[in-house]
Each structure stands twice: as structure tokens, then as C-alpha cells.
Point group: C2
Chain length 237, copies 2
Amino acid sequence: MTIKTEQLRARPRRAATTSLRARPRRATAEVATPYHHGALREALLQAAERVLERDGLAGLTLRAVAREAGVSHAAPTHHFKDLTGLVSELAAIGFTRFNAAMKAAGESPGTPIDKAMARAHAYVAYAQANPGMYGLMFRTERLDYSRPSLHAAAEASFAGLAGSVASRGEGQVGNEELALDQAAAIARAWSLVHGYTMLLLEGRLADILRRSPAGTTAESLLDAMLRATVPKLPPGA
Amino acid sequence: MTIKTEQLRARPRRAATTSLRARPRRATAEVATPYHHGALREALLQAAERVLERDGLAGLTLRAVAREAGVSHAAPTHHFKDLTGLVSELAAIGFTRFNAAMKAAGESPGTPIDKAMARAHAYVAYAQANPGMYGLMFRTERLDYSRPSLHAAAEASFAGLAGSVASRGEGQVGNEELALDQAAAIARAWSLVHGYTMLLLEGRLADILRRSPAGTTAESLLDAMLRATVPKLPPGA
DNA sequence: ACTTTATCTTTACGATGTAAAGATGAAGCT
DNA sequence: AGCTTCATCTTTACATCGTAAAGATAAAGT
């Protein structure tokens, strides 16, 4: 691919003077990548997200993240062990934010159908605003679900979805049995919105949108698609 | 990862004797990786598919394919130029086979709804039988749609889907305009079946299946999911 | 003050994609 | 025929990547 030689990395911080480490502990309001100890873990996660949304999933390498954070390429190892570790931790963050967005959308006023629509739109909106993150979250390949943080966040995400479909109270759909029509309703809602999102992000819906009436957007098409399906939702609170 | 040293590759065919190339041209029934000229291109594609279904998408590397085919690691370059080239060509083959399976399913007897169900089942069945291939086909990242073979095969796939939904004759849904409800119907069908397939392949449906009534399979859940949606299909031939 | 320990850097190795130069044998030309 | 040409394959080379291991460095504990 011939991108650029690795020598171009953000150089290892202290060039020659060896003792500018006595810089103010809090430059403006937050510690700006402190010297030795510091909050490298968080800095790496932020750098990783920046790299992800800038260069895509393919560009999200351990070394690129370390470069972006201005540390040596082996520094992340101590905090995440693996690329899998870093990626999984980042995905957990993505799920957490995603869950918050979905919860907020579910608290909108209106009929249950209105709420369902709002949730669906929030779902797609999150993916459109954070395509890299969404791709990361749903590309299992390099994800380790045995990590507690990721497991919990993803589980909460599913529980929220299932709860919003299965006409229970608020999300509390633990581990109990599901009737076939309940399971089908959950699978339907999830498949619809996830499939639409994936096709949209991969550009597969571009053709359909181009042939649709002028002014049709991804949102309005989603709306039309759901409106034909939603009435079949189980009668619930 | 420490897999294995590259020395373990299928060694470069003629070890020391230098002239066993006068072996029978057709060993049993087909040329078995001929010497110089030969059908390397096809052999590489077959090797690639083998590697893909054996080691997954991550294991599908140029060098692994060359190894599998028993040639030097740079041999594929001349036939495909890139990893992208090889992968795209393989995806084109996948789409072609997929299209054939879908067409066959569409020719089953029964009502239009029966046909639609048969097609949906064929869709998921293909993905389950060829998970590597399906993942390859719908993971745009390393695909070059400007390649004529891939472009044509993918286009045909979409046309078949659109045609089967939009109640036209047989597939002829060229480039004309689409009414919003038509576009929505296509998006709905595609999103449903693609989303379901993706979630299934990534293991995301395992929880739902486990909590479903005993005996519920991926197929029966798909069936239940579709039965609640199908009645809303546009009234067509 | 000295040691311990967490954190970060260097160095090293095998793997990968890709480019470039060297072999090799089939096909074409005179 | 003999020679050249050229597509095909192999070697060699290089930049990159993930990961392991060993060395440095500063904060913390004794």
C-alpha cells in the first residue's frame, strides 16, 4: 500500500532536553497527556475512536492508535494486552452510548408506535453519526465478548431492544422464556433495523434511494418501510 | 499470533531433480496444477474459497491462497493484481451462485407468498451453507465494485430481489423510477432477510433461539418472523 | 534512602501486501 | 531449425502490522 514510513510517528515526546517534564500539571483544565503515569488508557481509547472515524476500520491498528496518542507502539499492550482488547473496550463504549441514545428516544412522548418509530430512527441515526463505531460493534470478528465491560454493554443493548418490543414494562426482559411470536417480533424488529442500517452504511441502498421520488432520504425511506410493518406489532402497553 | 513459520509452505514443486515436468498431462481426469502455463487463475480461486471456508475471512490472505495452491506467494499478483482483485473476483462467483439459488427457489410452485417464503429461506440457507462467502459478499471493505464481473453479478442479485418484491414479471426491474411504497417494500424485504442473516451469522440470535420454545431453529424462527410480515406485501401477481 | 512496581520504550521476530527484478518455458517469427 | 518475444512464475526486498521480551524510568512503598 505504501502509506508512509514509520519514522513519521509523533516522536517520543522528550526530544533531547530530557527534563521538560516539570510542565504544569493541568495545562488548561485537564491533564494533557501527562508524562509517565497519567491517564494513558483513556487517551488511547479517545485516540482509537479518532483513528476509527478518520481512517475506517482498516486503519484502526494498534500502532496507529499509539502514534495518534504520541506514545511508543508497544504502550497499549500494558493497558489492553491485545488489539482485540482495545477494540473490545472501544466497542463497549460504543454500546454504552448507543444504549443511552436508545433510552432517550424511548422516553419521547406519544403512542407506543410513535415510541417505536423514534427508537428506530435513533438507531439508524446513531449508526449514521458513528459509522465506524457501529461497524466495530457489529463486526464480531475482532471482539471478545468474554470481557465484562463489553458483555454487559451489549447485553443491556439487547435487553433494551427486547424490552421495547415485547410490551413489557421498561426493559426488564431478563432470561425468561419467550413465546414463538414474541421471539419472532424481537427478531423482526432487530433484523429490520439492523439490516437497513447495514445496507445503508455499505452503500447498498444508494440505488434504491436514487430511484425513489425526489427528496427521499434515508430517514424518510426508513419511515415508509416501518409504517408498513409497525401495525403488526403485538398489542402492548 | 505465532502461527507457523512460512518455511512450512507447500514447497515450490520441483525440489532438486529439475525435470519431472514431463509428467502425464492429465493425471486422472483433470490437469492437476500444471507446470508453467496452466489454469492457475481458476486454481487460485478454488484455493481461496477453500481457505475462506476453512480459516474464515481473517485467514484469507494472498500468501495463504498461494500456499494452498502450491505456488509462490507472488504468483497471484499477475492474475488478480491485488488482494482486492482476488477477493472481488471470488465475491462475484459467490453472487453468481447465490443468484442461481434464488432463481431456483423462485420457480417453486405455490402462491406468490409461498414463493416469497421459499426465496427467503433459500437466502438464509445459502448464507448458512457458505458463511465465509456471504460475509465476503456483504463486507464491502475489500471489494472493488468497479470490476465488471462483480458489478454485474451484484447488480443481477439486486434486480432479482427487487423484481421478486415489486410484483413485476420476472426480474425485469431495470432502472426505472420507484414509487415510495415500492422502494419501501424492497428495502423492507431486503433489510429483513439481510439483517436476520447477519445477526444469525454473527451469533447474535443465539440468545433468542435459546429462549424460544424447544425445537425452534433458525429456519422456524425465520418462518415465524416472516409470516407476521408477509401479509403486508403489496397486492401483486 | 533504598527497593519495588507499574508504566513506557527498545528491540526483535514472524506475518502480511506489494513492488521489482530474475528465471522459465511456451509461442511466434525469420 | 534456431532465435526472439513474452506471458507466467519465483526471488528478493521493503514497509507495515501484531506481539513478545528485555531494558529504562519514575512513582509508590518500605
